[in-house]
Symmetry: C2
Subunit: 218 residues, 2 copies
């Protein structure tokens, strides 16, 4: 890949993560990359094309790694379902590990990816979601097998909750969230996983509830 292309992608990662997609202009991008304005459209066709290429560069390898690790676990356990804890590790481990590997985007891309889960722009959302169809086809059945007591719908929703916790953690990695007032130091990736994985495993495996009382209303 040409040097100019790389420089644009790197600058885009940084600026998109910092400011979001819409408010970041192609002029700001090319200036930060130190290349000519027209180079962006020459190499990527459009701003959307750049965003597409940006996600493809990182998400392809990332999701392939997740699928490879899932293969490993499934062949390790044969006919038996893979323990939930292993599935969670395989699912949330690779994206969080991005943070400590600058060659795969580092903390910057992790933050960007965390935010992308709740991206309002329709074009961007479609580009992003498009990278996850294979992943869903493998992980949803895997979780369903390992959470046999739950209905299909319950499995879906719990995966949904897991994705939310993961995305929020990725988006706000480094500085911990709104509620702590900065009294909480950021963690290494391994420490973070040691905190997140048990939370998710317990949530996924929790007993189903019945709607037995009013919730949250006076």
């Amino acid at each position: 890949m040409s040097d100019t292309k790389q420089k644009i992608l790197d600058a885009a990662e940084e600026l998109f993560a910092q400011q979001g997609f819409a408010p970041t202009s192609v002029r700001q991008l090319t200036a930060a990359a130190g290349v000519n304005l027209a180079a962006l459209h020459y190499h990527f066709g459009s701003k959307d094309g750049l965003i597409q290429a940006l996600f493809a560069r990182r998400l392809g390898p990332l999701n392939q790694e997740r699928l490879r690790l899932l293969d490993e676990q499934e062949s390790r356990f044969g006919a038996a379902p893979v323990p939930v804890q292993e599935l969670v590790k395989v699912f949330v481990g690779p994206p969080l590990r991005l943070a400590s590997d600058p060659n795969r985007g580092g903390e910057v891309f992790m933050r960007l990816m965390g935010r992308a889960f709740s991206e309002p722009d329709q074009h961007v959302a479609k580009i992003f979601v498009g990278q996850f169809s294979q992943l869903a086809r493998r992980f949803v059945p895997a979780f369903a097998r390992s959470l046999r007591k739950l209905s299909e719908e319950e499995v879906y929703w719990r995966i949904h909750f897991m994705v939310g916790a993961m995305a929020h953690t990725m988006a706000h990695a480094g500085r911990i969230g709104l509620l702590t007032g900065g009294r909480c130091a950021p963690k290494s990736v391994d420490e973070l996983l040691a905190l997140l994985v048990p939370f998710l495993v317990a949530g996924l495996q929790s007993p189903r509830a019945s709607i037995q009382e009013e919730v949250g209303a006076p």
Copy 2:
């Protein structure tokens, strides 16, 4: 409050929830509201002023309700810590219940609020976060009391994970997330809470983990 002001706020809620803040222009807003372009700057000073007013209108009452419910629970249990399940209900119940009350923003504002947690724009993020400082001062100690086995840092992080799952659920309410391919029907608020609350309670109460093995790496 003047009729024009209301109409602008309502239109803004709808369009911001649909498209995000940056891509929604004040012209589009005032056109949708059926008012003159200049009315927006007359009543709100600027686009940022509108966003500020928009959050204040809904988040003030919402967070007051949460604090009131927390008061109730704390006086109910006296010196004893409030059970985690009750705290979770008080924390995630009111925002999810917005969805079924059009007078308080309905599903539209809930979606907008869910997205606001990972808003990249610095101005908007500051406006949004500013609404939560009181809430944090009450809920963080309450959770810490009820999760006595955990260190302060662990409590922070688990609240962080909870907020993530909640925000993601709010942002994508109605249509369930990326991984299910639309095979999962949306739920009523009560059904949703019956799914989410046990997940969060189990996660919050999960035993702490030790970093005993490599996680997610080959």
